[in-house]
């Protein structure tokens, strides 16, 4: 399923809404999650899962081609942990 298919499903269920409003609704949800993580916040959606930010420490990496050591700066990466309800549903429980 891709974004446009998700929008279509919501639009089909809500015939009283304009398609462009459904698009704005769906886009707002994903935008809000990304914005939260960009601020370092967590987004916890019970039953579905939680989005959080993990810190990766600075390290000395290596250029795999030349073997040369390179300093890699500390950075923050997005992380998702599946919620219990969804994890159980995936396994037919």
């Amino acid at each position: 399923m891709i974004r446009s298919e998700l929008i279509q499903k919501i639009a089909d269920e809500n015939p009283h809404l304009y398609q462009r409003d459904v698009e704005r609704i769906v886009n707002t949800i994903f935008e809000e999650i990304t914005n939260a993580m960009a601020r370092g916040d967590r987004v916890e959606l019970r039953g579905f899962g939680a989005f959080s930010v993990k810190k990766r420490d600075a390290r000395t990496g290596r250029n795999p081609r030349t073997g040369e050591a390179v300093e890699v700066e500390e950075k923050h990466v997005p992380f998702f942990k599946t919620g219990k309800l969804l994890r159980d549903r995936l396994n037919g429980k």
Binding site: M1, I2, R3, L6, K9, I10, E13, N14, L17, D21, R24, I25, V26, T28, I29, F30, E31, E32, I33, T34, A36, M37, A38, R39, G40, D41, R42, V43, E44, L45, R46, G47, F48, G49, V53, K55, E74, K75, H76, V77, P78, F80, T82, L86, R87, R89, L90, N91
Partner: protein, 102 residues
């Protein structure tokens, strides 16, 4: 970093502000987005949200695990797990937003 936790309520508040539906209807729409995504994943479908990321379901084989406390071997049943791969755009925005100043 502000270290806050957002919930469904914050997402429906954002929808409420953005589209001007009632708070109730905004909350229902957030729920139905999550529901449709979950249903697709339970069907084994991949959910690909451009510029956000991709959720996919992977099958894990059975293996022997170990109880870390007792050292006892326990069989782990085959299972399906969900993985999320953030888009480049999300990775960049999260990295940029959390970069230490200076």
């Amino acid at each position: 970093m502000s270290d806050k936790t957002l919930t469904r309520m914050d997402l429906s508040e954002a929808v409420f502000r953005e589209v001007g539906l009632s708070r109730n209807e905004s909350a229902d729409l957030v729920e139905s987005v999550l529901q449709h995504m979950s249903d697709a994943l339970v069907q084994g479908e991949q959910v690909k949200i451009s510029s956000f990321g991709t959720f996919s379901v992977r099958d894990k084989a059975a293996r022997m695990g170990r109880n870390p406390k007792t050292g006892e071997e326990v069989p782990i049943q085959p299972r399906r797990v969900l993985t999320f791969r953030p888009s480049h755009l999300m990775k960049d925005r999260v990295a940029d937003g959390n970069r230490r100043q200076g």
